[in-house]
């Protein structure tokens, strides 16, 4: 009898101790600390930053590429619409694309025509300023490419140069059209759907070359940047992001600043055997170009799969900023922002080229608001990191060691196979994802549309099957400290701190634009298009559009000097996939975990793409 009693007593004790243990675990919800000083008064005089000297002062009233110019400032010198009169802004006309994926593209305006490219199937429309259709171009984009795009079948825009329009299709074709009549001049296949490659990025045209990169970091593809001849579409060079130096185009001119980036064939040696062939490092983000130094700048995406246990090593050259010569693609310097990425912090964000004082000395820099939550200010001649301050709460790293250029990672936050890590801030889409920022030389501030998200992450097995996802991670995201999921921040790149910010309920997944009228524009996923005072952050005007905004605003003027503002509405993208893809939010891991943080989006918007053009009456 006493034996039975003992047994019961023992099992009772076990149950109690299990309960206690699980309670203790659930309690672990440390709130990360924001490193910014809160709401201090706007500080003027100007911080002495300025656009690079080679950037022409004269405003041509056009918008020929998504980044507006090679320095990627997304700043227009037009000032007819200004902080005084923006409240009178009215819709001039709208144009529906009849498509339901996320509309992330920036419209392009040249002379008297507005050009837009849609998400899959990547149709192009030329529209006159009264809203009538001039011509259209519809490529026969392969249907199956839709199943290979990780985060909605978006397209981020096209470029006008030499009388032609250049853009990519989701099924890996680079296309040049005659801007006058929409005639296809050439079409080159640059990627392979069977390997899981797709293309969503906006190209950059530099010195007669169209620069394009691939997407598919979640599909086990190998990242590359390719240069095509703008006249013929012929492939001129390919710079891979992983693999032997010869294929990464690393030669004798390659001089990385930090020792961890120096060495031979690191793109092979920093991987387990053969995994560099499916290691990601895709080039799906933004490129900038400095004509004076003759260097193009861009960053590479996340290593695949997400589960870091599968790919021990530094995983070069993923999450790396490259400076290359446009002529032959040869790498001049590289800086791996984060060796052995743990959280899908792609390094593809925009590089703003500025000249600004660092310790009293004027430096040629590039400013990169990274997904890992830091704004990096780097010397664009050498690749030296000059400063890196956090713009969102970060609890997975403790800053960047400026001597060695290395991030101080927090050990406890390392995910792995069959291991769950809670409360990782920022989440996989980072402090800021692809949504590009803008810089106004008038205020000296950078305007960052960004996220405030954290996540839980659980590593799983990842099985590589060509053309299928290769992730190995279950993720669930949720709002960061404060409960809001998006922020619009005005950032002082010299002081390395925020000047003011606006909290938004949903991630600010749209781009932004600054104007000489001291107005900045951005859109929200709950359908507001907003104009903000660039100096104070005061909301000046807002307009409710048809669907959530994930596009990029642009501005331009017609021949009579009338200024317009244009933006796509049409929710989607990674953050909006829950609505555009009709996902079921009961499963928090849907859309790679983004669905968990966006459960209420469908209460605020539905899908559907439409172009809005605004002007003063």
């Amino acid at each position: 009898m006493s034996n039975y009693k003992c047994l019961f007593l023992y099992s009772g004790l076990m149950i109690i101790s299990f309960c206690l243990a699980s309670c203790i675990q659930n309690d672990d919800q440390a709130v990360p600390q924001a490193s910014n000083t809160a709401n201090e008064p706007v500080h003027y005089p100007h911080n002495q930053s300025q656009p690079p000297s080679w950037l022409p002062d004269r405003e041509d009233g056009q918008w020929t590429m998504p980044a507006k110019n090679y320095a990627s400032t997304r700043y227009s010198g037009l000032d007819q619409i200004n902080s005084e009169n923006v409240k009178d802004l009215k819709v001039a006309w709208t144009f529906s694309t009849g498509l339901t994926p996320g509309h992330e593209a920036a419209p392009v305006f040249v002379e008297d025509t507005l050009y837009v490219v849609t998400p899959y199937p990547n149709a192009v429309y030329a529209l006159t300023l009264d809203g009538s259709k001039k011509w259209e171009y519809k490529p026969d984009t392969h249907q199956e490419s839709q199943g290979l795009a990780c985060c909605d079948v978006v397209n981020r825009g096209m470029v006008y140069a030499e009388g032609k329009l250049f853009f990519n299709t989701l099924d890996n074709h680079a296309i040049a059209l005659d801007a006058k009549n929409g005639k296809e001049l050439w079409k080159t296949k640059v990627g392979d759907l069977k390997r899981g490659e797709t293309m969503t990025m906006a190209p950059l045209v530099v010195k007669g070359k169209m620069l394009v990169g691939n997407s598919g970091g979640e599909m086990g593809v190998r990242g590359w940047l390719k240069a095509l001849d703008t006249k013929t579409g012929e492939l001129l060079w390919t710079a891979y992001s992983t693999g032997p130096d010869k294929e990464v185009l690393i030669g004798k001119d390659f001089k990385p600043f930090y020792s961890q980036d120096q060495g031979e064939n690191l793109g092979v040696a920093s991987w387990p055997p053969d995994l560099w062939k499916i290691g990601g490092g895709t080039v799906w983000g933004w490129l900038s170009y400095d004509p004076e130094l003759d260097l193009i700048y861009y960053g590479t995406g996340n290593p695949g799969p997400w589960n870091p246990d599968i790919r021990p090593g530094d995983n070069k050259w993923t999450l790396t900023v490259f400076a290359r010569r446009p002529d032959d693609g040869s790498a001049i310097w590289a800086y791996q922002i984060e060796p052995h990425d743990l959280y899908d912090y792609d390094g593809v964000n925009e590089s703003l080229l500025l000249d600004l004082p660092v310790n009293g000395e004027k430096r040629k820099v590039l400013v990169r608001p990274e997904r890992n939550g830091h704004v990096y200010v780097m010397d664009r001649t050498s690749g030296e990191v000059l400063s890196a301050s956090t713009y969102v709460p970060v609890n997975v790293t403790e800053g960047v060691d400026l001597k060695t250029g290395q991030l101080r990672k927090v050990k406890d936050k390392q995910p792995g196979t069959n291991k769950t890590v809670h409360n990782i801030c920022p989440a996989a889409p980072g402090g800021k994802d692809w949504q590009p920022s803008a810089y106004s030389p008038r205020t000296g501030l950078i305007y960052l549309p960004h996220n405030n998200l954290c996540m839980d992450m659980h590593g799983t097995q990842a099985n590589y099957i060509a053309g299928t996802p290769y992730v190995g991670s279950d993720v669930k995201m949720f709002a960061g400290p404060g409960g809001h999921r998006g922020v619009y921040t005005a950032w002082d790149p010299v002081a390395g701190r925020k000047v003011w910010n606006i909290e938004e309920s949903f991630p600010v997944w749209s781009g932004t634009m600054a104007t000489a009228g001291d107005v900045v524009f951005y859109g929200t996923m709950d359908r507001w298009f907003k104009a903000i005072d660039a100096k104070t952050g005061k909301l000046l005007w807002k307009y409710r559009v048809g669907s959530g905004i994930v596009g990029q605003p642009v501005t331009f003027q017609d021949k009579n000097g009338k200024q317009y503002v244009a933006i796509f509405s049409g929710v989607g993208g990674w953050s909006g996939a829950i609505v555009s893809g009709g996902l079921d939010a009961r499963d928090g891991t849907a859309a790679l975990g983004f669905a968990n943080a966006m459960k209420d989006l469908s209460q605020h918007t539905d899908k559907g793409g439409q172009l809005y053009v605004f002007s003063l009456p």
Binding site: Q29, S145, G482, G582, L583, D587, A590, A595
Partner: protein, 172 residues
Amino acid sequence: MFSPFHNMAWLAIVPIWLTLTGCEDQAALRTVDDPPSQSLTRMVEFGPGTEEPSKTPHPYINNRHAINEGKRLFSWFNCAGCHANGGGGMGPPLIDSHWIYGSKPENIFASIMEGRPNGMPAFQGKVSEQEVWKIVAYVRSLGGLDEDLPAGATSRPLQDKAESDLREGEIP
């Protein structure tokens, strides 16, 4: 107070239970010869000759062992990469009531085998028919289409947890 008889009775149940579970497993592992299922797949029904005799479902449907195996294969063959744990992502969700290409076992079977035009790859020749049927059994249990929903074989617990997982602050 336990009498010795009660103890004995307990012991007697164990082998019976073991035998029963064993049967279930064996049934699941048995080679099943199926008629080619493709011919049964109709996306849209029309008038003539639609009164089909009632068919016995595939033995894997509602089979606990097959559902569990299907769950493993669902993750091994990267179904989860696009459909997540049923909520969807690159591919459509599998736990809602909306089925683009039909929710009958043979519809799901055909979707996996033949692929679908908007990005669903065809697994014919890459995954054996038996394994596909296991995945079908799992997918149906995931969406609550079959009555038998063994605990642990579906992603329901995860979903429940997810719903209470908006943990920072309140969303206005």
